[in-house]
Every structure is written in C-alpha cells, then in structure tokens.
C-alpha cells in the first residue's frame, strides 16, 4: 500500500454518497411503513419470471449432465426393467380394478368429500440473495391458489414436517418464510406433555430453532428427541404439524421458563418440493387477499 501521491476525495463523491444514502433511507422509511409497494407488474412478473428462467437453466444443465452419466447404466437397467414391466402390467390391471371398487365403496359410505385440506405442490426456484433474510421463492402464486400466510410443509424421509409460511404472493410466484428465519414465529407445543410455547428461528439454515416459554415444571419430563408440533393457537398453522425434535435445553437463572433448542424435522438444504396448505381455520387479516 502506498500512501503518497493520493488526492483527497472531491466534494462530488461525498455529495453523491450523501444523496444516495439519504435516498435509500427514505425508501426504507416509506417501505417499512408500507406506504409504498413496488409495482406488481415489475415485482410480480418480471422478477419472478427471471428467477424462473434461471431455475430452468440450472435444472436443464443439471439434467443434461446427469443424463450423460446415466446413459452408462441405462442399458443394464433396460433388461431388468423389461422383465419387471410385464409383472407390473399384471399388477396395474389388478390395481385399476381395486381403485374402481374403492371409489364405489366410498360413494356408498358417503366419504367422497373427505375433509382434508387442499395441498398445492410447489417447486423452490430461488432463495434470498443475501444471508440476513432467508426467504424462498416458489413457482406457484396467486393464480394457482396460493394466499398469504398459508402454512407450508414438506415430506422428507417419511416425515411430514413444517417448512414455513407464505409471506408474499405474486401472480405466478410466492415468497416463503422458512422456519429458521429470524422473524419466524409459530405457536408450538411438546407432543408428549402438550405444554405450549413459541418456536422461533435463529436466522441460519443449519442452526436449531428455539422453543420459548415452556414452563420449567416440564424439565423433569422433558427428554432429548421429544417431538415438537404446532399447537394451532396462532391460527396460522394447523395443529400437530411436526416442527422438529428437542435437542438441548436449559433453564436460565431467575427464569420461569425453559429455553429449548429444536432440530427441525425437515432438512431445508435438501428440500426441492413443498406443499402449501389451504388452512381454513386461519383467520388472519390478509388471508385470502391478493398481496
């Protein structure tokens, strides 16, 4: 580093910096007060479609590379599959007849309108470009039935677990706040003892969540590995969706409640597809409205 022969920055540089810093802070002030929103046309369509295009390119490249390596195994698998196909053809016929029979029986029992919540499958196409915010972008939006504050779940290794909630809906994409986000809160309870608390993210994908406000009287019965589920009291998440398992826990001095670390049931680094649940019980100010 040399320190001789340098000039002082001109006033223009300071003025420029001051102008843009003030401008940024003004925009931040207005946007946090929700006075101003980015026009939906740009935010919803342009940005969403660019992200979709990037995700498509990425998917195409990975599929192409994968296809080349898979070609080696295809011939070997082909023979085995041919034999299995005949077997499956027989099974398919049997299966089709069973489905028809099942449908008939359901009609008879009046179970065709099974009161299960509607699940909308979506693909994660992008995430927040920075590390302080940790949102995901999914490829389904208002047009596909996604609404603000819909709970989102995923299936992994045979477990159905909570992933987060929808915080912003555009025409064809939506923003999902994962459960490890700093601002994520969910009313939760211990599945075994039904003690209620509040689950909160810590901001990092690999960091465990924190379960707060569980009374210290639970300390005797609490064990590592206990399951934590949603309680449904926040009217955002249906009850009994698995959040995760109890890791370590501690009782702070002079505190009446435990601080419990919860390891999420779903490993979000491996999740590609998620399901937004139509939560009919949710009574939130924006539920059902286009955002």
């Amino acid at each position: 580093m040399k320190n001789n022969g340098f000039h002082r920055p001109s006033r223009t540089v300071h003025r420029k910096a001051a102008l843009f810093i003030l401008l940024s802070l003004s925009i931040l002030f207005v946007s946090t007060s929700t006075v101003f929103r980015v026009p939906d046309l740009f935010h919803g369509y342009v940005i969403g479609n660019i992200q979709k295009a990037f995700a498509a390119v990425s998917s195409f490249v990975s599929r192409t590379v994968g296809a080349v390596s898979e070609l080696r195994n295809i011939k070997k698998d082909y023979e085995a599959l041919l034999a299995k196909m005949q077997e499956y053809e027989l099974k398919e016929r049997e299966f089709t007849s069973l489905i028809e029979e099942n449908k008939r029986l359901k009609d008879l029992l009046g179970l065709t309108s099974f009161p299960d919540a509607k699940k909308i499958a979506a693909h994660i196409i992008a995430r927040d470009p920075g590390n302080t915010y940790s949102s995901f972008v999914i490829d389904k939006g208002y047009n596909e039935g996604i609404r603000k504050y819909m709970p989102v779940i995923a299936f992994q290794d045979g477990v159905e677990g909570l992933v987060g909630k929808i915080i912003d809906v555009k025409a064809s994409t939506s923003t999902l706040q994962p459960l490890y986000d700093q601002r994520f809160f969910a009313a939760a309870r211990l599945a075994k003892t039904r003690a209620e608390g509040l689950a909160n993210g810590r901001g990092f994908r690999d960091a465990p969540m924190t379960l707060l406000y569980i009374p210290k009287t639970e300390m005797d019965t609490l064990k590592q590995g206990d399951i934590v589920v949603t309680s449904g009291l926040d009217q955002v998440f249906p009850q009994d969706i698995i959040i995760g398992r109890v890791g370590s826990y501690q009782l702070n001095e002079f505190s009446s409640s435990l601080v419990i670390e919860v390891q999420p049931a779903i490993d979000l680094s491996r999740v590609e597809y998620v399901f937004a649940i139509e939560n009919q019980g949710a009574l939130t100010p924006y539920a059902g409205g286009k955002q």
Partner: protein
C-alpha cells in the same frame, strides 16, 4: 455511462446467480455476496463515485429479490460503495490484501449497519449476529470471493472504468 451499465448488469447477474444457482450456499449454507464484490470493484476503480450509483440500483434490485423491505440492501450497498471509494484515495489495488480487506470490511460494515437500520426502523428488519460462527464464515467467504472477483474483473477493467474522454489537442 457504458461502464456504469456494464457494472450494473454484472452485479444484477450476480444477484440472480446468488438467488438461484448458489441458493444452497457455498459453505454451511452461506452465500457469498458476489454482487457486492462487483460494486466494490466498480467503486474502487472509479474515484468519481460511479460505484455509488451502481450500488444504489443493484441494492434496489436485491431488495426486490429479497424479503427485505425496499431500501435495505440499497442502503447497505451504497454505504459499502462509499467506503470503497474513500479507500481508493488512500490505497492502491493489489492482488490480495486490498480486495480481501474490502470484502471482509464490507461484511463487517453490513453487520454494523444492519444494527443501525434495525435500531431506526424496528419493523421487519433482520440483523446480522456479528458474534456467530455463521457471520465469521460469511466474512471469510466474502473476503476470498472478493479477491477472486477482483482478479477476474481486472482483465475487464477498461470496460468497467469510467475514464473521462481525452481532450482534443
């Protein structure tokens, strides 16, 4: 104007790459801020403050890609670009030390500035946990990736430099 457009395009491209192809992170889920590295490069080589304009527009695009409120990244990027421009008056670009200091310095500045922003605008503002291991990883990742970005961009420096037109004889 051309250099501003090229710098801006490169940083926006990096933002989209960060949010899609690098979405799983490089180390422990941490995404290096490549767009910031380009903003720092543009700010460092253009002492007239062109990098600040690039930072502002790239920051606004980052805000749109993020769940952050509009103006959050714009403020962070502009502040870091300003610091990089100031540094360019007292230091010369080298191959490792200055880019590394710029990358890590920008990460530390972001960490402090998010606290400041959170203090002023409490609603919806996430902050860096400065003493966490994850922030340490991000610091190092930003430092090393800024060195890499500076090295690559050095080959394209004439395209990113806002050199004033030479006076006619």
């Amino acid at each position: 104007m051309r250099s501003l457009f090229i710098s801006l395009s490169a940083s926006i491209l990096m933002l989209f790459i960060q949010s899609t192809w690098l979405s799983h992170g490089i180390v422990f889920g941490i995404i290096p801020d490549l767009a910031m590295s380009i903003v720092l490069f543009s700010s460092f080589i253009n002492k007239d403050g062109q990098g600040i304009i690039v930072a502002f527009i790239a920051g606004l695009i980052a805000d749109m890609l993020s769940a952050a409120p509009l103006g959050y990244y714009a403020f962070l990027y502009v502040s870091c670009a300003y610091l990089a421009t100031l540094l360019s008056y007292v230091a010369e670009k080298d191959i490792f030390i200055i880019p590394f200091l710029l990358g890590t310095g920008a990460a530390i500045a972001r960490g402090i500035l998010t606290r400041f922003v959170s203090w002023i605008f409490a609603a919806n503002i996430n902050t860096y946990q400065i003493f966490s291991a994850e922030f340490g990883i991000e610091l190092l990742a930003d430092g090393f990736f800024t060195v890499l970005v500076f090295f690559i961009l050095t080959f394209f420096q004439p395209l990113l430099e806002n050199s004033p037109r030479k006076a006619l004889p």
